[in-house]
């Protein structure tokens, strides 16, 4: 109990709020690194997932690469990216580049696999119907396949975002300004209060990310999709319509 009291006191200690590398700065740094990395992961993973999902080509290669990507520890990506970016940009800077490379590498596989799996699961009859009404391939992708697959795609984005936020503090090892600064300093100085307080914030950050993206996922689910349909007035679930194949 006494220990938890010290942890609580740590949060309000002026040392965390004034001078350099304050708590708000490091929290902001964590969010910045995580958000940029997720953006990079999305920019790379989305087109790949959409292409594979729409055409059905390259699925096996993508799964194989994703599996290898998952087996490489996030620390490994960071450790390899660090000397390369240091050599390329003459100095280590604030560690943002190696952190982004490592975190994007971590975030890409779930987005790719969920995006193409979501598109693959779209009822072939829907695709046929789209072609039947004269949609181009592009229209078919954006107006039929993506809306129907969106919950699955968003689930991939969520696991990617949570993994990135959970791993971002490790990037303090290469000099990125994140909450990990406190943890590393705490470990070096055997300051259990400081590392504990920071670790709790990391847990809260991961949880907040999970909740935020779960909410986005619900928002992204078209009310016309099975299971999600609710009465607009009462919010009560609507009776499921009979499946098209039964008609």
């Amino acid at each position: 109990m006494e220990f938890l009291g010290k942890v609580a006191a740590w949060y309000v200690d002026p040392a965390q709020w004034t001078g350099r590398d304050t708590l708000p700065e490091l929290l902001g740094g964590t969010i910045l690194v995580a958000a940029l990395s997720l953006a990079v992961a999305l920019l790379i993973a989305m087109p790949i997932g959409l292409y594979i999902g729409h055409t059905g080509r390259g699925a096996q290669a993508a799964v194989a690469i994703a599996n290898i990507g998952r087996a490489v520890p996030s620390l490994g990506w960071m450790g390899i990216a660090y000397p390369i970016t240091t050599a390329l940009f003459a100095r280590a800077g604030n560690g943002l580049m190696p952190a982004m490379i490592a975190l994007a590498a971590l975030g890409i596989p779930p987005i790719v696999t969920n995006t193409f799996a979501g598109l693959r699961e779209v009822d072939p009859e829907l695709r046929e119907a789209g072609r039947g009404v004269g949609m181009t391939e592009r229209q078919l992708l954006w107006r039929v396949e993506v809306p129907v697959a969106l919950p699955v795609i968003m689930a991939g984005v969520r696991s990617s975002a949570v993994a990135i936020v959970a791993t971002t503090p490790l990037m303090s090892l290469v000099g990125a300004n994140t909450l990990g600064d406190y943890i590393i300093a705490g470990l070096n100085l055997s300051d259990e209060v400081e590392m504990f307080a920071a670790a709790l914030l990391v847990v809260v950050a991961a949880l907040a990310t999970e909740l935020l993206f779960a909410w986005l996922e619900r928002r992204a689910t078209s009310p016309g999709l099975g299971g999600g349909a609710r009465d607009r007035m009462t919010g009560a679930p609507l009776q499921p319509r009979p499946a098209a194949s039964e008609g």
Binding site: R70, V72, L75, G79, T86, A166, L170, L173, L187, A199
Partner: protein, 220 residues
């Protein structure tokens, strides 16, 4: 890494062969303990679910919450209680195996068709006989699939335990490779982690085929 220093120095591998071998051993040892302990706990939980199916949701819920705690935070949060010991590392690693292992074990038991259970009962199998001779053989491919995922995941997480001094190959990746900016050590560590993970994964797949020769590539 100083300017002009080569990116990868083979002579470092030769000079440090004994240290590398020691870290490989440590990595495998830490992973093995986590998987064995995680397996035993999960098996006990799955047996409880087999008896009381209502427990499935709370067990999976708790395992899911444990899994959602970022590993770097989990290692640190335990330090005030269990300090910088191997126990701290193992508690975290074991916790992370539970979600996959419990889920797959429950799924494995559920995969046993009801008429098979009925036939076993009709033939006079006791509860224990039915478990060992009927249900487990049918559940094995799904259970081993869970062990494979848990093993590869644990191999990666062990490297993060280098923060608290029990990192196996993570020591090469972090303490030598990153903190001293010596890419040779990082690359060596990463290549070995990936290679060992692939080897263990392959070995477990082989084991599953040996255990259940009648099942095809179901676990994949």
């Amino acid at each position: 890494m100083r300017a002009g220093q080569p990116f990868f120095r083979f002579e470092w591998l030769v000079d440090n062969a004994d240290q590398i071998a020691r870290r490989v051993g440590e990595q495998l040892y830490i992973t093995l303990i986590a998987i064995v302990v995680g397996f035993l706990i999960s098996f006990a939980l799955a047996l409880l679910v087999r008896r009381y199916p209502r427990l499935a949701a709370p067990f999976l819920g708790v395992a899911g919450i444990l899994y959602a705690i970022p590993s770097i935070a989990a290692f640190v949060l335990l330090i005030p209680i269990t300090h910088l010991t191997l126990v701290t590392a193992e508690i975290v690693l074991v916790s992370y195996t539970l979600v996959v292992l419990v889920r797959n074990m429950i799924a494995g038991f559920r995969a046993v068709p009801a008429d098979v259970l009925e036939a076993a009962d009709a033939m006079g199998y006791t509860n224990g006989q039915r478990l060992w001779r009927v249900e487990l053989p049918i559940a094995t491919p799904i259970i081993v699939a869970g062990v494979r995922i848990a093993t590869v995941t644990t191999m990666g997480l062990v490297t993060i335990a280098s923060l608290i001094g029990h990192g196996g190959l993570g020591y090469l990746i972090v303490n030598i490779g990153i903190l001293r900016v010596f890419p040779t050590a990082t690359i060596t560590g990463v290549v070995l982690v990936v290679a060992l993970s692939a080897l263990l994964d392959f070995g477990l797949a082989l084991l599953q085929r040996r255990l259940t020769p009648w099942s095809t590539a179901r676990a994949a």
